[in-house]
C-alpha cells in the first residue's frame, strides 16, 4: 500500500509539468490570435510584417496611401468604418500568396493602368481558403484577380471602373486556373469583362449584377462544372460570351440590353451538356447565339423583344429548345443552312397563327419559327428597313405556307397556344 502511494506521488510532478508546458505552448501558438490595430498615418504593410500567422488586423477608418501590400501568411484584415487604401496609380494594392486570408470592409482605389502587369486591387496567387467580402473597389485596372487558387469566396463587393478606352480596362473579377469558388452578390460596373473565368472549375456564381462593362458581362472558357444563378447581366458592350465548356448550369439569370452587331445576350460557343433554364433574355439584338454547341437543354426561358431570339447555326447538334416563351421578338429563330439536328418543342410563339381544335393546349399545325425575311436580312442587313411592310409580310406568309428557302424541318410540332407558365424568381 505505501509502496503504491509513493509510486503515485513520484508521477505527479511529471504530469503537472507536462500540462503546464502544454499551456505555455498554447499561449504562444495559434489558438490565441492577437488583434492588431492600425490607424491612419500608420503603415498597413508594417503591421502585416509584425503580425504572426492567424492574427487579425483591424484597420481603422482613414486614408492610407499604400500599394503592394504583401500578405504571405494567414491573416484576417478587417476595415473598420471603411478605410480607403489609395494606390495612387502605382500598382497592385493587396498581393496575397497565403492560405486562409480574409479581406473585408475596405475601399481600394486607383491601381493605375499598366501594360506590363495586371494591376489589381486584390491579386492572389496559389492560395486557398480566401475570402474577399464587402469591399468597394473603385477605379482599378483589374478588380479582384486570382490565379491558381482554390476554395475562394468573393461576396458583396462593389467594383467600378471608369476607363472607356477598351485596351486600358481590365476585368472585374478574374479567375484563372482556380477551383471551387463562390462569387456571390457582387456588383461590377465599367470593367472590360465583368466576370472572367478561364480554367476555373466548380465555380458557383450567383446574385451578381454586372452592367455597363466595356466588353463582356460574363466571359468564360474551359470552365467546366460551373453554375450561374440569379445573376443580372445588363447593357454590357458585347453581352455575355461563354466558350469551350461543358456541364454548365445557368438558371434564373437575366440577360438584357445587349445591343449592336456582334453583341449577344448570350453567345454559346462550343458549350456542351449544359442547361439553361428559367432565364429571361430581353431586349438584345441577338438573344442567344449558338455555334458548335451540343446536347444542351434550353428550357423554360423567356425571349422577349429581341431582334433575333436565337441564332442557331447548323454547327449545333442535339440541343433541345423546349417550353420557352418567344414574345415580341423581331425574328424568333434564324439559322444558316437547311440542316436541322436540334429539336423544338412545346414552345410558345406569339407569332403562331394556328388553331387548337382538340383543345389539348397545343396548336394542331406546326409552327415554323424561321421567317423568310430573316434569311434575307441575314444576307442583306439593310433590307431590315422594309420589315413590317405589307410587301414583306405577304412574302413571309407565302413562305410559311410553302417553305422553299427556309429549312423545312425547323419547326415546332407542338406549339403552345398560351404562354408557358414559368416562375423566374424562386428563392
Amino acid at each position: 500500500m505505501r509502496k503504491f502511494e509513493s509510486y503515485r506521488l513520484r508521477w505527479f510532478p511529471m504530469v503537472f509539468g507536462m500540462m503546464a508546458l502544454l499551456l505555455v505552448a498554447n499561449a504562444a501558438g495559434a489558438s490565441s490570435p492577437t488583434k492588431h490595430f492600425v490607424s491612419e498615418g500608420e503603415s498597413i504593410s508594417e503591421a502585416i510584417e509584425r503580425a504572426v500567422k492567424g492574427d487579425t488586423l483591424i484597420i481603422r477608418a482613414g486614408y492610407y496611401e499604400e500599394h503592394e501590400i504583401i500578405i504571405q501568411k494567414p491573416l484576417t484584415l478587417i476595415g473598420e468604418g471603411r478605410p480607403v487604401i489609395d494606390a495612387g496609380d502605382a500598382g497592385d494594392i493587396f498581393l496575397i500568396a497565403a492560405d486562409s486570408v480574409w479581406i473585408e470592409g475596405f475601399e481600394l482605389k486607383n491601381t493605375g493602368f499598366s501594360s506590363q502587369n495586371d494591376n489589381a486591387a486584390i491579386r492572389v496567387f496559389d492560395s486557398r481558403y480566401l475570402t474577399v467580402e464587402d469591399n468597394r473597389i473603385i477605379n482599378t485596372f483589374f478588380g479582384i484577380h486570382l490565379s491558381n487558387s482554390q476554395h475562394i469566396s468573393i461576396r458583396n463587393n462593389f467594383l467600378e471602373a471608369f476607363e472607356k478606352r477598351s485596351h486600358r480596362t481590365g476585368n472585374g473579377i478574374h479567375l484563372w486556373q482556380c477551383d471551387t469558388a463562390l462569387i456571390s452578390a457582387n456588383h461590377v460596373i465599367g470593367h472590360r469583362d465583368g466576370i472572367y473565368l478561364e480554367f476555373a472549375v466548380m465555380v458557383e456564381t450567383n446574385r451578381n449584377i454586372v452592367e455597363n462593362n466595356n466588353r463582356y458581362g460574363l466571359h468564360f472558357m474551359f470552365s467546366h462544372d460551373n453554375a450561374y444563378y440569379h445573376n443580372e447581366f445588363r447593357n454590357n458592350e458585347a453581352g455575355v460570351a461563354v466558350m469551350y465548356t461543358r456541364n454548365v448550369i445557368m438558371k434564373y439569370n437575366l440577360f438584357e440590353k445587349s445591343l449592336g452587331s456582334g453583341t449577344y445576350g448570350v453567345l454559346l460557343k462550343d458549350i456542351s451538356n449544359s442547361v439553361m433554364k428559367y432565364n429571361r433574355i430581353e431586349n438584345n439584338t441577338t438573344g442567344i447565339y449558338m455555334d458548335g454547341s451540343n446536347n444542351n437543354e434550353i428550357h423554360y426561358n423567356l425571349f422577349r423583344r429581341n431582334g433575333w431570339g436565337i441564332k442557331l447555326l447548323t454547327s449545333n447538334d442535339g440541343n433541345t429548345i423546349e417550353g420557352n416563351n418567344f414574345v415580341g421578338n423581331t425574328f424568333d429563330i434564324s439559322t444558316n443552312g437547311r440542316l436541322v439536328t436540334n429539336s423544338l418543342e412545346r414552345n410558345y410563339w406569339d407569332k403562331y397563327e394556328g388553331y387548337d381544335l382538340d383543345g389539348d393546349g397545343y396548336g394542331d399545325i406546326p409552327y415554323r419559327p424561321i421567317s423568310l425575311y430573316s434569311t434575307i436580312v441575314e444576307r442583306i442587313p439593310s433590307a431590315i428597313i422594309l420589315w413590317r411592310s405589307f410587301m414583306v409580310s405577304m412574302l413571309d406568309r407565302a413562305e410559311r405556307v410553302i417553305p422553299s428557302i427556309t429549312p423545312e424541318n425547323m419547326k415546332d410540332l407542338k406549339p403552345k397556344m398560351r404562354p408557358n407558365d414559368i416562375d423566374f424568381k424562386p428563392e
Binding site: 445591343l259 449592336g260 452587331s261 453583341t263 431586349n283 438584345n284 439584338t285 441577338t286 423583344r305 429581341n306 431582334g307 433575333w308 414574345v327 415580341g328 423581331t330 425574328f331 406569339d350 444576307r379 442583306i380 442587313p381 439593310s382 433590307a383 431590315i384 428597313i385 422594309l386 420589315w387 413590317r388 411592310s389 405589307f390 410587301m391 414583306v392 409580310s393
Partner: protein, 255 residues
C-alpha cells in the same frame, strides 16, 4: 377663316362618314384588344391598320369630299373671300375631322385597356398619315376636274406608296446588295410617307434588331431620338409640300 372652317366642319359632320370611320376604328381596335392580350402584339396589329387602312380611307374620303363640296367652294369664291382662305379651311376641316376620328377610334380603347409608349407613337404616326393623304388627295383633286379620274389618281397614290414602292425598294436592294446600301435605302424610305411612318414604328418595336447594323450612320440614326426626329420632320414635309402645291394650283385654277 374660322367661320369658314366651322361651316366646312359642319358639312363634313353632316355626311356622317367620319362618324362611320370613327365607329369602324373603334370596333376594330376593341376587337384587336380582345383577341390579343400582349400589348406588343396589339401595337403590331394596330400598325397594320394604320399603315394600310388609314391612308386608303383618308385619301378616298378627302377626294370625294372635295368634289361634293365643289358647289360650296364656288359659292364661297363668289364672295369677297380670298382663295387661300377657302382652300385652307376646306383642307383643314377634312384633316381635322379625319385625325379626330382616328385619335378617338384608336385612342379610346387604348385609354380603356391601357397601352405602352409605342402606342403614343402609333397615334402620332396615324395622325400624320391622315394629314399626308388628305394633302395628296387635294393635290390630285385640284389637278383634274373629273371626279372619277381624281379618285383613280388617289387610289394609284395609295397602291404605289403602300405596295409598289416597297416592292421596288426590295428589288433594288436585291439587285445592288453587293454595294453599301444603308444610306441609299434610308434615302428611299424618306421618299415614301407610309415607309416613314413604318420606320418610326420600327424604331419603337424592333429597335433591338435595328441595332444589329454595322454601319455607324445607321447606328446613329436608329440608336437615338435623332432618327425619330428626322423621320417626323420629313413626314411633316410630306404634309406641307403637297398642300403647298395644291394651293398653288387651286389659286390659279379656272373653276
Amino acid at each position: 377663316m374660322l367661320k369658314l372652317l366651322k361651316y366646312s366642319l359642319y358639312n363634313i359632320l353632316r355626311t356622317r362618314f367620319t362618324l362611320l370611320y370613327f365607329g369602324f376604328l373603334l370596333l376594330a381596335t376593341f376587337a384587336i384588344y380582345s383577341l390579343d392580350h400582349d400589348l406588343a402584339r396589339v401595337s403590331l396589329s394596330l400598325l397594320n391598320v394604320v399603315l394600310l387602312v388609314v391612308p386608303l380611307i383618308c385619301i378616298v374620303f378627302a377626294t370625294v369630299h372635295f368634289y361634293n363640296s365643289y358647289e360650296f367652294i364656288e359659292l364661297m369664291l363668289a364672295q369677297p373671300v380670298n382663295r387661300t382662305t377657302v382652300f385652307m379651311s376646306q383642307i383643314l376641316a377634312v384633316g381635322i375631322s379625319l385625325s379626330l376620328a382616328f385619335m378617338g377610334g384608336i385612342g379610346i380603347p387604348m385609354l380603356i385597356y391601357g397601352g405602352e409608349a409605342s402606342m403614343i407613337y402609333l397615334l402620332f404616326v396615324g395622325v400624320m398619315l391622315s394629314l399626308v393623304f388628305t394633302g395628296l388627295a387635294y393635290l390630285a383633286s385640284v389637278m383634274t376636274r373629273d371626279k372619277a379620274k381624281a379618285i383613280g389618281i388617289t387610289l394609284l397614290f395609295w397602291v404605289f406608296f403602300s405596295l409598289i414602292y416597297d416592292g421596288l425598294v426590295l428589288f433594288m436592294i436585291y439587285v445592288f446588295y453587293d454595294y453599301p446600301l444603308e444610306n441609299a435605302t434610308l434615302a428611299m424610305v424618306m421618299l415614301n410617307p407610309v415607309d416613314l411612318a413604318r420606320v418610326i414604328m420600327l424604331m419603337q418595336l424592333d429597335v433591338s434588331a435595328l441595332m444589329g447594323f454595322t454601319g455607324a450612320f445607321f447606328q446613329n440614326f436608329f440608336g437615338s431620338i435623332r432618327g425619330t426626329l428626322i423621320s417626323s420632320g420629313v413626314l411633316l414635309l410630306w404634309i406641307l409640300i403637297p398642300v403647298y402645291f395644291a394651293l398653288r394650283v387651286f389659286k390659279r385654277k379656272d373653276l
